[in-house]
Symmetry: C2
């Protein structure tokens, strides 16, 4: 038996489209319904067989057994009340927003059967045109249950992501936002700042070091605007980075080779741990 | 006829070893001689047929027609006087140091037939064990001639890098250091700072965004220490980055979505140019 009969995805972009493709490929539901403001997106999603049917009218999701909110954080928050009036009473709801504290607190007050998800997969590319059925394979998916979370709902969503090929782990919403502020949101702030800093005329001398450090600065600006504004840990993470950068700058300024070596070596050793933890995601 | 009879490479690491492999593969010289402090490096370089013979004694380079200094910036500066007393009068000399102003000014006062090189290729990996014969294929190599540079030497070194598969361009040493401070050295400072900032306990939540932004923080700390200390533009580049980071931070702090969007969108547009310039290097 399939885990769900009808799955509705609100927001058919890179993540929503990839979820749709994966649900189809892995036979997790009988029908995938897509909601997007843009007709072009829906046509493309149908063409690549990511969705069975789609609409820009939310009423299309009324028979869904699982609704996945895959839009920008502010759009998720904006649409939630309307969605709650459309869906069936026993419909399970999750979202894939990159911050969880604000979203979970609002969504669990609106939906009876909700738990927050954050699949740690994605790329700087956007749109259903870049969707991939294997985006979540071997990736980590964080679920953020609270004391209000229905255990049956949690079990179902855990199973859902596992069937998508992800490894599931749990964090409280505040801890999720704290961890992600360092491992994902700060790297994005830094990449955007770095891209802003490099004078255009020197771009032609950029090689793999510049390309890799700034790859995610090609990400959707609107999406990341929402993430930065909805993560209360951002300022703290940025300030911690600023302090470390200042230390390197001051060691360079004072030509303190010993201190500079020590800082760089510490950073290098930590980075090497990340290679050892390597997952494909 | 081969471009050179005997090529000597001082420092058989990732870059020196890759040059050696490329010279052999492309038949640019009849013999490749390696100099390294470490016997293990020389044995490995011989085993992978990067060099014909090697020694930890600089006297081995006395018959070379081309000497390539491929060590850390401070080592290049330290060994140059000794090398000048060993080599033949008409021996051509170049180096592959990542900064050029300090090196070129000292080396052109020491060597009669010198021009500085900076092949924009490499990786966070170190050692001859990671050397690749095609490292320079389709990459950019910057030469930094000055008014003192012998035109015949310049033409030979240009041809040398072209035979290695690189595209050659010219910059004055100060302009080289300015451009590189933004497109390479600053990204390294930023990557080291980012790696320093992420708490170890959260590394397990790191996905491709953290991995890519910090990849080069796994680079050789000693090498980069030298680069940062020998580029007089570093502080200015870091300060320019600090200003852009502060702007993003302050937009987040004031929840100024319009300004934040504008900054991120500008950074995104500039990063997209880099994709269009894509070379494999």
């Amino acid at each position: 038996m399939k885990l769900f009969n009808k799955v509705a995805i609100v927001g058919v972009g890179l993540i929503g489209g990839s979820i749709a493709l994966a649900v189809k490929k892995r036979g997790i539901a009988n029908e995938v319904i897509g909601v997007s403001r843009r007709q072009k997106t829906l046509l493309l999603a149908k063409k690549i067989r990511a969705i069975n049917r789609g609409s820009n009218d939310l009423n299309i999701i009324k028979e869904a057994d699982l609704v996945i909110l895959a839009a920008a954080v502010s759009t998720i928050l904006e649409l939630a009340p309307q969605i709650s009036r459309i869906i069936k009473k026993d419909c399970v709801v999750t979202d894939v927003g990159s911050t969880k504290k604000e979203i979970v607190s609002k969504l669990e007050s609106i939906f009876a059967n909700y738990v927050g998800s954050h699949p740690l997969a994605g790329s700087e590319k956007k749109g259903v045109v870049n969707a991939q059925a294997d985006l979540f394979k071997d990736s980590l998916c964080i679920l953020t249950p609270t004391k209000n979370t229905n255990k049956v709902v949690l079990r179902k969503i855990k199973k859902f992501w596992e069937q998508m090929g992800a490894k599931v782990t749990f964090l409280t919403p505040p801890l999720h936002d704290k961890a992600l502020s360092y491992v994902s949101h700060l790297p994005h702030v830094v990449a955007f700042s770095l891209s802003s800093t490099v004078p255009k005329k020197y771009l032609r001398f950029g090689s793999s070091s510049l390309r890799d450090t700034t790859r995610i600065a090609a990400s959707d600006a609107r999406l990341w605007c929402d993430v930065f504004l909805s993560n209360q840990n951002m300022i703290k993470a940025i300030e911690s980075f600023q302090k470390n950068l200042s230390n390197i700058k001051s060691a360079i300024n004072r030509k303190d080779k010993r201190l500079l070596s020590k800082i760089l070596e510490g950073a290098r050793e930590k980075r090497v741990i990340l290679n050892k933890n390597d997952r494909s995601g």
